[in-house]
Subunit: 280 residues, 2 copies
Amino acid sequence: MTIENISSNKVFGGWLKQYTHISTTVNCSMRFAIYLPPQAASQRVPVLYWLSGLTCTDENVMQKSGIQRIAAELGIAIVAPDTSPRGENVADDPDGAYDFGLGAGFYVNATQAPFNTHYQMYDYVVNELPALIEQHFPVSDKRSISGHSMGGHGAITIGLKNPKQYQSVSAFSPICHPIDCPWGQKALTGYLGNDQQTWPEYDSVELMKVTKSTLPMLVDQGSDDNFLAEQLKPETLIEAAKAVNYPLSLRMQQGYDHSYFFISSFIEDHLRFHGKYLLD
Amino acid sequence: MTIENISSNKVFGGWLKQYTHISTTVNCSMRFAIYLPPQAASQRVPVLYWLSGLTCTDENVMQKSGIQRIAAELGIAIVAPDTSPRGENVADDPDGAYDFGLGAGFYVNATQAPFNTHYQMYDYVVNELPALIEQHFPVSDKRSISGHSMGGHGAITIGLKNPKQYQSVSAFSPICHPIDCPWGQKALTGYLGNDQQTWPEYDSVELMKVTKSTLPMLVDQGSDDNFLAEQLKPETLIEAAKAVNYPLSLRMQQGYDHSYFFISSFIEDHLRFHGKYLLD
């Protein structure tokens, strides 16, 4: 597994680098970004994986969240994959919509043609990417996972399904119950087909109902998020967590919206939360 | 002078807002952004003006620098104007180049047609914008000024020419000596004409040589900045400051480049520097 470095920027004493590689999971060239804190120059550091939301790439969190500041203080690497496979041969939404296809992989393994050829983002994030990171960079095998919106959905579902692989999970404004919201229903129909029996394995609420995991989980949600009631539905996750006594801390943040301005305001809390489990 | 609010985002407990207004100085609609820290809800706060670099708008510093975090802690408003007049009727570089015309006003008052109709960015930043801000927002009359690259040039020249209007000045990667670098020579020729006698009033080094000001000044420059030797020339500013015993602190930051990743790494230092003078 080879990787090609395409950019380097010094940030808060560490290095932000972008790489491309040929993914055997999604069958195309993929780009990712990694922030290596100053501590990585002399020791192995744990990794927080960040999954972005609809329309994003690896760049949004690195440019807009300010995440590097606390990552540098604590000594945590940040890895941000892209949000879908890309390229001329990768199928897209037939209408070019922002909420399906390119930039909208939803962190699932697609079963439906033509999407199943490339849209294997679940396996990419859970298996191929961590193996690649641990092969090429001075990181330990301690991992946590976080994300925003579609990426919050990805982080929670992946965390709940793989509790031994991660130390902790967090999310901003996650799509909590995709089987019951327009974004989720469109994506799951397109990637998994009309048979809804296959959908719950990618639904945070449905996974929560049956989880045996006790992975620590922090969720922040803005009260003035335009997508709150129709798409995000945090109340469904709170209810499911209560029913199984899950250690979920979900905070409603008054007046905040769905943007990276919200994320930047609370990313420090998330890094310190993950740090408790990654650095102990 | 009326203003129209076009966006609002809660950030670090305060509010980032964008406005448009009809500028009588540059004779077109202008957009600016203001970050009001939480303290502005109950008291007047001082203002740091931020001047952006080539190709930028009011948005870059607000999205990429993380400036709101320390502004919220200290209680300082941040105001970011656009980098040029804009609109269908505003003359641009004949070749559409990034370094002249739209997005490249250089904070001068143009004297040459067709640019003199709208490109009066010096007067806009020094006079019209502060008056507008102080009319419409809960701010005091304490002001400081900072900026990046072309905006660093703007901040230093404006600070040196108006020491009573500002408490302090700072810059990242400023174009220190525009009369002697390609970016500056192109812009000054276009806006001011071939008669170079008019150029030194917009040149930080030339202004430094004759200044009576002792406005505190902090400059950060990345050692790995691609534009360092040809366009920025910080050594010329250091030399001029030494000759007049000016209180300049210019720091070469090893390994950093020209990007907002560099700015984000040191913006806290700049806010605390300005805070010493804005909040005393």
